[in-house]
Symmetry: C2
Amino acid sequence: MHLITPEIKELIGEKDYTALQDIMTELLPPDTAELLQSLEHEEAIELIRSIPPDRFSEIFSYLDNEYQILILQDLTVGRLKNILNDMPSDERADLFLKITPELKKQLFSVMSEEEKKDVEKLMQYKEKTAGALMTTEFAKVNPNMTIEEATNILRKTALKRETIYYIYATDDRDRLLGVFSLKDLIVAPADKTVSEIMNSNLIKVFLHDDQEKVANVFKKYDLLALPVVDNFDNIHGIITVDDIVDVIEKEDTEDFHKMAAVGAMSNAYLKTPFSMVAKKRIGWLLLLLITYTVSAQLLEHYSYALESVIALAFFIPMLSGSAGNAGTQSATLVIRGLATGEIKFQEIFYIMKREIFMGLTLGTILGALGFLRAYLMQGNPMLGLTIGYSLALVITIATFIGSILPLILHKTGIDPAISAGPFLTTILDITSILIYFQVAKVLLGLVQ
Amino acid sequence: MHLITPEIKELIGEKDYTALQDIMTELLPPDTAELLQSLEHEEAIELIRSIPPDRFSEIFSYLDNEYQILILQDLTVGRLKNILNDMPSDERADLFLKITPELKKQLFSVMSEEEKKDVEKLMQYKEKTAGALMTTEFAKVNPNMTIEEATNILRKTALKRETIYYIYATDDRDRLLGVFSLKDLIVAPADKTVSEIMNSNLIKVFLHDDQEKVANVFKKYDLLALPVVDNFDNIHGIITVDDIVDVIEKEDTEDFHKMAAVGAMSNAYLKTPFSMVAKKRIGWLLLLLITYTVSAQLLEHYSYALESVIALAFFIPMLSGSAGNAGTQSATLVIRGLATGEIKFQEIFYIMKREIFMGLTLGTILGALGFLRAYLMQGNPMLGLTIGYSLALVITIATFIGSILPLILHKTGIDPAISAGPFLTTILDITSILIYFQVAKVLLGLVQ
């Protein structure tokens, strides 16, 4: 994409509008959006003038919210009206959530009553719920209509985007009765009624359902769209699969960041300002630094042991490191299982049992090797035993804690993703120092 | 789902087939698949008998490959034929990739020549490419047909699953000329031709394209399906969005596991046998244990320093831990940016510059705190300076390495995900010990 940016800049400079128009009709909307965002502001505004209003409305949807807000101010009232009317209702509400009250007032002044009501309604739903994700544009028909009547209605309405692949049958009070696909409609004889072809065994989600739950329903049933209902089974909107792809990606990114002890960022990395990234990172680093003072204190407490057997210090990284690695493995497996819906809290006892055996298996192997290594390096069998035995113990405990902690956090409503990575390794650092020196005290006969 | 398992078990025991049939018609295919997999083998076979063959074919697609193979042997030839005929062609090929040559021969004996050829063709594509993902079932028409003719053809064919929302216009040699949606078809006048309504500005992928690239095309253009072509622009199949949702999830899971130093598992955690999980985990743990012997050796080398200032040992976890945390943050931000397509290798110089500043910022803050902490705890200003200065240096380096390493791995074709987590922290462990003791030697005037 960036490849044609210089060429476009030149054409804008030369005011060669015919050439620009030719290129613009060739480019697909997402590509045009990318192009616009790579231009200087003035150039972008110039280029937008050579794009027909209808086409620009489509392009507008692919721009980042920040960029949308930036150029909104420079558009003519006519274009503004067009865009606000053509935007999918969920995206329009997202935009309104991010603008100032002044801009909102300005935009409302060019919108119809119906559009304003739609925005206000969608804005009320909590972020990351089905209500906030849904679009209010969808195809609905009466179940008593014939296929021919339904087809005619669909021809006249719902011409926007990928929202009419499923058609919903509702009664006069918008109660959801059934669903059928465009495919069903095409193959059905014209004189059958909607109620004859519709499927009333409906999969649906509720307005306040969490987006992660919605994503899991999509994945399980391989759907293109899902109706959103209230407690009275009235349909309020639909969620389409392209939005769910974005949700899955965003949720995963959030988990990745949390597991690396980076605070959640609403934007992509390179687009987030330096100071914001620094702020998101320093908080966790400081907290972790403070917990390391606990390990420093602990080591000071055991300095008598270090002074009599200095070699004990050599293996501190090996012990706390291995504990951290084994714990992170367990935690990641469980966190990912919870996120994809594979693991449920009820399985905690099975997982506990499995992970204890896993810890014992891994701990025994690593402990044996640690013993050999320390014995060969230092020629002291009791030191070797101290390392080996501590390693085995520490790894077993780390594996156990790593698997259980995310389950407990998940149960208490905290995102389990924060329990892997630095947070866990710091806890395990302290645990392993404690165990190591207790074992050393016994096996090496150290006294304070 | 599991809620009704006991009830079903009871009905199977009582051989109450009418009640079972009633429940089965109520349940959706993915739910029935889940139910079957929660039953004993004998019970499942019994239950399958009460499901009509057509419906069972649909359910079969939702079963795990392992389970499919398990029950294939117990099905009648009639059911087998039905299932193998009804399965989406991509899923059928996936199944064949996992079975023994004997079972393949057995299944081939009940399949038509055409089906066998289709399986052989799809099996030849490398895993994780567009060719391996695509299904060979899609709707195609000639561009010279009228809308009415095209509609009639669609009524007669392509009745399987969500594969006809886009219809492809091809010439006699299967060369891809254009695409239109079912929606376009419905709203178009019956006497127009396909070439008048089709869009010839096509988005497509090639047979050997990597699945991650395919996923990014889907995300960018908000598509429901994407045609797969060869170098001569002949269409071989289509990829549907539900498969892409699975791809995104699987790729992310793989990245999570790699970042936690767990070998890639083809299955979900709980379904992977204990011994397999242990094998996937022990490899990395052993490798990391060996690298810890390097840090042990290093510390032994510096034991003269530890002996003269034992307090140096207290802060080893703080230094290597903070380095690991800062490095993991950077690496995760870059790895995720690469995976979502936000970050490209060309931006390496910008990222380098940004991360050096980031490292200096974070390092200065943490270093100042580390200085204070060590000074207050030990009352030795030079020791405080050693900790503070080392922390600042180590964090700057860790931030830099953490951000650059994934970019370099990505460039050389290695999955950057392995560069975060334990692998990186181990490298940084060693780096931080080296820096720490070099700084200590200078500031504390230690000599060997």
